[in-house]
Every structure is written in structure tokens, then in C-alpha cells.
């Protein structure tokens, strides 16, 4: 649970968004201030400039007025031609129409505009101004008038040839020269030879007749100028389209920077989150690996470990299913545990459980989405830990088995010591007891009983001898000093001799011997004796008294076969391999009843193996045990413990 705290963290304002907001606010503020500063700065500059603009306009108007007046005076005194010529020669933007009030004499100073100039001259406002100028002998101004579709200003000046008459009537009858100085408004605003108006600056002039020039919405300077007898209001300022936009530019740049910054920071933030998530996942997986390592050390019992392990790993890696497959003793892979359920669409991934150079199993992981590299590495680490746990568990199990085996062996040895002690004491007691009785009561003991006691002493001595022989053989076996020296022998002769010698072991039984005359074998006579003695001893112990024990020596499939058959309980097939293990005795009442150390068949087996002979146990027809020992008939290479 502690690992899943991600969703519980408080949601923070994204740094990218915060920065964008700050940048926008800053740029907006900066834009406003910049705009105001720019506006203020422009205003100051323009006030100065516009004042000069107005002054310049006044000068141009005054010059135009003066020039028109001069041309009128020249025309009155020197004639129209002289005046016109001079007027045109002078560098000024004016066009002139020279006329004499009562006549139709008219001269146009700029020929290319004759028609339009005459149209201006003929306009009613112009005619009105002419009459007024003649009447008061002053220059009159008409503005605006239409000159070929453009606004223009007309200066009307009278010129009297012999001085200006004092009264109006005389002035009217004096037939003065009248000069119209016509100038387009554009030429007025930007007359030749003067610096142009500032870019974005406009001039609007309002006269008694109307207004001309572009609309000035934000006048910087307004000034009243006397022109002739009129007062013109001149406004100088910027047109709406020319307003400085530095503030907006800064705002836009700010927005752009904010957007770019936000984008960069957002990317950085996403990358940081991705790395954080990866670190988080990695951290959780490392934690799992660490906890898995600890958990796997807590027990050596796989049945206890695997369920918790599988649940944890499945949960942490979002797996749909997890199988643990282990290698058995024969190298076969067996699924020992499975958690979850996979579907055919799942991705699957296999991780070997490696321990050193060998693979002890594998993990089969199933998941809805393919595992990424980090998860695969982590799962491999977990698999390696599991491999260690599996190996330790298997070693522990083997150790437990070994302990169990040793414990069983210890129990068998204790039973062996108990049995041997019992056997030895029983035999020696019987021998000593009968010997004592004979020596102490010889005279009073009937002959038949004496004879009986002697037979019993002989039988017990035989048993004692056989037991001592077994113990000596066993000691030699333990010390690996049991040696056999096989040679070519007549097996039949040995069998008959040994049978005769050890017949007391089966004194209560009916002993039958079938020895094929002259049967040759490659064997050590001592080994044959020990083998046959043990077989006879077993038959004597296990077969009921009075039953038949049959010893046979005959050729069988190229081998010299020695067989001993009894009519006892036989040896169950399942036990036939184990009876050759030292101290092993069949766990049945018959075994307990019999007196044996549990080493006879083990000794027999070792003698046979060292002689190159094979021992097989079979069921005798009609019941009982049938043991075959097949001796080779020729030398066998590399025998165990062979004594050269």
C-alpha cells in the first residue's frame, strides 16, 4: 500500500502554465506602459514638430498670399504678359489666372491646367471673392475649391494701376487687374523645396467655406491662422491608422515568448514526469526485488514460498498470470505453481531460473501489455532470486533426505547391534550351558541326552561361526578390504563340500543337492563358500522346519549357475532390490523371528559382484525363495576388488 501513494499527492499548478500566465501578465503590463511611454514620447515630439508645421503652413499661406498680391500689382502696372511671365518664372507652387474685372481679358499662367484653372476662376465662390476683393482692395481666399477633383485654395488679389482708390465705387469702376493664385492643398502642405510633413502626420484646415485635408481624430495641435480676411483653424495630428502600436507589439512578443516558454517548460515538465514515473516504477520494483529476496530467505519450503511470491510479482508487474516451472531430477520441466489466468491475446515472456551454469526452471509471465525493458530486467532479477531459493530448497530437501537416510541407517545399525548381540549371546549361552551341564552332570545324564546336547552344541557353534564369518566379512567390506581371487574352479565340487560343511545351518530341514558333475566356473572358492553359506543360512532361518532346501549347480545360458530354493515365505518382488542393502531385513514377523544380522545378503551381493557373478531372486514354483547366482565360466575384466 505504501508503494501506491502517487494518486494521493496534491495536484500542483503546472509550472509551464504558471510561467505562461506570469509572462502574459508581465508582457501585458509592459505593453501598456510601453504604449503609454511611446504615446507620451510621440506627443512631446509631435507638439514641437506640429508647431513648426503650422508655422510653415502659415508661412506658405502668407507667401502665396503675398505672391498673389505682387503678381496682381505687376499685372496692374506692367501688363498681364510681364506679370504672367514673372509669376511662372518664380519658384512657387501657385498657378495664376490673371483677369481684368470689366473685360474678358484673361491670362492663365500655367497652360497645362488652363481649363481646370478657368473652371476654378469661373466658380461662383471665386466670382464672389473677386467682387469682394475689388470692393475692399484686399486679398481674399477661397477654399476649398475643386481643382480636377482635388481640393485647392484660391487667393484673389486686386491690382490697381494707379493706386488703390479710396472708395468702393471707384475701386469697382477702376477696372483693376485681378489675379487668382491657385494652389492645391497637397502643394500647400508639402510645397516644393520644403521638407515633407512627418510620416503619419496630417493637416486639416477648416475655413469659412468648409474643411479640407484628411480627418485628424487626435489633433496634437490646433491653431487659428489669419489668411487674408479670414481665420482658418488648422489641426495637425495623426490619422487613426498611424497610431503607434508598440504596446501591442510588446504584448504579442510577450505572448509569443510565453507560448514558447510554456511549450519548452511543458515538454521539460512532461519529460520530468516521465522520468519520475520511471524512477517510481523502478523504485517499487527494486523494493519488490529486495522484499522478494527477504521473503525467499524466510523459508526453505517452496510450497510455502511460491504462493506469496507469485501473488506479489503478479500484482506489482500487472501480470495476468504467472507460472513457476521447475526442473525435476530427470531434467523434465514441470509446472509447480500457477497464479492468475491468461488469455490467448496476452503477451508472454519467459525468464530462466539460472543458478550458476544450470537452469533450474523458468518463470512464465503473461500480461496484457508487453513488458518494457526495465520491467524485464526487474523480473529477471526476481527470477534469479527465486532460482537461489529453489536451489537452496532443493539442497535442503536433499539434505533432509540424506538425514533421513542416515537416520534410517542409524536405526538399522542399532537394530543390527541388538540383533548381533542377541545372536551371539543366544549361541554362546547355549554352547556354554550344554557344555556346563555335560561336564557337571555327565554321569547322571543319559547317553541319549548327552548325544542330543552335543548336537545342539555343534549346531549353535556352526551358527556362531557363520555369524562371526559374516561380521568379519562385513568389517572387510566396510574397510574395502574384501578381496576375491577368481580362478578356474570346479563349482560342483565346491558346492558339495560347502553344503556338507554348512549343513548344520539347515539341520531342521531336508537338504537336497543337485550338482552337475564337472561344472566349471571362474570363481574364488572362498567367495562361493560365503555365498552358499549365506543362502543356506537364510533358507534355514526363513523356511519352516521340516521343509526342503534344494541346492543346484548347473550350466545356464553360458554361465555356471548356483541356485538355492526353499519353501519359506519368499521375498516380495518390491523388496528384491533392497534385501542386498546392509542391515536391511524384511519387515515381517518371519524376519523378526529369525536370527540374522541383516548383512548376509549384502555380503553375498558384494562377493558375487567382486566375482563377476550376478544374483537374481525369483519365486520358487509352489512358493518360497529361489536365488540364482550366475558365475562366469571365463575370466572377466576389471572386477571389483579383484586380487591379482
Amino acid at each position: 500500500v505504501a508503494l501506491r501513494t502517487r494518486s494521493l499527492r496534491p495536484r500542483r499548478l503546472s509550472p509551464a502554465l504558471a510561467l505562461a500566465l506570469i509572462a502574459v501578465a508581465l508582457s501585458a503590463t509592459a505593453g501598456v506602459f510601453a504604449q503609454r511611454a511611446a504615446d507620451h514620447h510621440d506627443l512631446e515630439v509631435e507638439r514641437t514638430r506640429d508647431a513648426s508645421q503650422v508655422a510653415r503652413l502659415e508661412a506658405v499661406l502668407a507667401a502665396a498670399l503675398s505672391t498673389t498680391r505682387e503678381v496682381a500689382l505687376e499685372a496692374a502696372h506692367d501688363g498681364f504678359s510681364e506679370a504672367a511671365t514673372r509669376a511662372i518664372r518664380d519658384p512657387n507652387p501657385l498657378a495664376f489666372v490673371l483677369s481684368r474685372g470689366s473685360t474678358s481679358e484673361r491670362v492663365v499662367a500655367q497652360g497645362e491646367r488652363d481649363a481646370s484653372l478657368l473652371a476654378v476662376a469661373d466658380a461662383p465662390a471665386t466670382s464672389e471673392a473677386v467682387r469682394a476683393a475689388i470692393a475692399d482692395a484686399n486679398v481674399h481666399v477661397v477654399a476649398p475649391v475643386d481643382l480636377q477633383g482635388e481640393p485647392a485654395v484660391v487667393f484673389v488679389a486686386p491690382g490697381y494701376p494707379s493706386g488703390t482708390p479710396n472708395d468702393v465705387a471707384t475701386r469697382r469702376t477702376a477696372n483693376p487687374a485681378v489675379v487668382l493664385g491657385i494652389i492645391r492643398v497637397d502643394d500647400l502642405r508639402n510645397p516644393d523645396g520644403l521638407p515633407p510633413l512627418l510620416p503619419g502626420t496630417d493637416v486639416r484646415i477648416r475655413t469659412a467655406e468648409g474643411a479640407f485635408g484628411p480627418d485628424v481624430t487626435q489633433p496634437v495641435l490646433t491653431s487659428d491662422v489669419r489668411v487674408g480676411g479670414e481665420v482658418w483653424r488648422i489641426a495637425v495630428g495623426r490619422s487613426p491608422s498611424d497610431r503607434p502600436i508598440i504596446g501591442f507589439v510588446i504584448l504579442l512578443v510577450g505572448l509569443g515568448v510565453a507560448a514558447l516558454g510554456s511549450f519548452v517548460i511543458r515538454r521539460h515538465e512532461l519529460e520530468r514526469r516521465r522520468v519520475e514515473q520511471e524512477v517510481d516504477v523502478r523504485s517499487r520494483q527494486l523494493h519488490l526485488i529486495a522484499s522478494t529476496g527477504t521473503a525467499l530467505q524466510q523459508s526453505l519450503d517452496l510450497a510455502e514460498l511460491l504462493p506469496a511470491f507469485a501473488v506479489n510479482v503478479t500484482d506489482e508487474f500487472d501480470l495476468t498470470a504467472l507460472s513457476v516451472v521447475l526442473s525435476d531430477d530427470n531434467g523434465q520441466m514441470l509446472e509447480v505453481f500457477r497464479h492468475g489466468r491468461s488469455s490467448p491475446d496476452d503477451a508472454s515472456c519467459t525468464f530462466d531460473l539460472r543458478r550458476g551454469w544450470r537452469t533450474v526452471g523458468r518463470l512464465d509471465a503473461h500480461c496484457a501489455q508487453p513488458l518494457d525493458g526495465v520491467s524485464r530486467q526487474s523480473l529477471q532479477a526476481v527470477a534469479d532470486l527465486l532460482a537461489i531459493a529453489v536451489t537452496n530448497s532443493q539442497l535442503y530437501e536433499r539434505e533432509q533426505q540424506a538425514v533421513t537416510r542416515l537416520s534410517e541407517l542409524d536405526a538399522l545399525k542399532n537394530a543390527f547391534l541388538s540383533t548381533v548381540s542377541h545372536e551371539l549371546r543366544t549361541a554362546t549361552t547355549a554352547v556354554q550351558g550344554f557344555a556346563d551341564l555335560l561336564s557337571e552332570h555327565w554321569d547322571t545324564t543319559p547317553d541319549e541326552r548327552r548325544h542330543d546336547m552335543a548336537k545342539r552344541i555343534r549346531r549353535q557353534s556352526g551358527s556362531l561361526r557363520h555369524l562371526v564369518d559374516d561380521l568379519l566379512d562385513y568389517a572387510r567390506l566396510e574397510a574395502e578390504r574384501l578381496r576375491v581371487s577368481p580362478r578356474q574352479v570346479n563349482l560342483s565340487d565346491i558346492v558339495e563340500s560347502v553344503t556338507d560343511s554348512f549343513s548344520p545351518l539347515v539341520s531342521s530341514h531336508h537338504l537336497v543337492v543337485h550338482a552337475e558333475p564337472g561344472l566349471q566356473a571362474w570363481a574364488d572358492p572362498i567367495a562361493v563358500e560365503r555365498i552358499l553359506a549365506n543362502l543356506l543360512s537364510n533358507a534355514g532361518k526363513y523356511a519352516p522346519a521340516g521343509s526342503t532346501v534344494t541346492v543346484t549347480a548347473a550350466e545356464h545360458d553360458g554361465a555356471a549357475r548356483l541356485s538355492v530354493r526353499d519353501e519359506g515365505p519368499g521375498i516380495p518382488e518390491a523388496e528384491r532390490r533392497r534385501v542386498f542393502v546392509r542391515f536391511y531385513r524384511l519387515d515381517n514377523p518371519q524376519t523378526i523371528r529369525t536370527h540374522g544380522a541383516g548383512i548376509g545378503l549384502a555380503i553375498l551381493h558384494d562377493f558375487a559382484a567382486r566375482s563377476g557373478a550376478t544374483v537374481t531372486i525369483d519365486d520358487a514354483p509352489g512358493g518360497g525363495a529361489l536365488v540364482h547366482v550366475d558365475f562366469p565360466t571365463a575370466p572377466v575384466a576389471a572386477l571389483i576388488g579383484e586380487h591379482a
Binding site: S421, E423, T426, A430, R593, T594
Partner: protein
Amino acid sequence: VTPRSNRALIVDDDDDMRFLLRVVIEAANEGLTIAGEARSASEAVTQWRTHDPDVVVLDHRMPDRNGLEVAAEMLAERPDQSIILFSAFLDEETIARAEALGVRACLSKDRYDEIPAALWHYGPAA
């Protein structure tokens, strides 16, 4: 004086040991008699019920059941039955269990010659 009667049941799976005990008891004294002999635990219980012996000389290591199991059965039926455990291999555990059951004595087989005295000692007059 009428000799006291002391009838013993000899239980041992070894034929020679039974014979040895019989000879030793017979040679020892008048009054000691062999009530019966048994070669196994089951035979011992049957003989015991049949002959009602004064003392049971009981081997420990037998094919069907061991001597202590037989003793337990007899003592459960007759707690005052006198039993001598006569074994070739007596360890401390066996002796302790025998005493706990109520067996009168444990005697190793190499002390076979002490059997007559033990029979008198643990017989009817005891």
C-alpha cells in the same frame, strides 16, 4: 514336609534355549516343574491360560509379539502373575518398561543357571 510346588511356563522361540532351561530346571531341585513350553507369543498366552503356571519365564524377542507385550496381556488379566523376562539382549529401556509393567525380574540369558533360584524367589511363596 511337603515340597512346595512351583510350576514354570517356558516361553522362547529358540529350541535350544527352551531345552537348556528345561534341563537346568529339572536338574536343580525337586518341586520345580515345567508346566509347559511355548515357541511364540500367541502360543505362550494359550499355554498360560491352559496351565496356569506359577512363574512365566518369558523371552523378549519373538516372531509375532515381543515379551513385554505378552507380559502386559498376562498382567492385565492377572496382575499377580509372576513373570521373569529372560532375554539375550537387555537394554535399560527394556528393563525400565518391564518394571513399569510389573514384571518381577529381568534376567540375561547368559545367567541361565540363576533361573532355578529365581523361580523359587518369585514363585508362589514370594
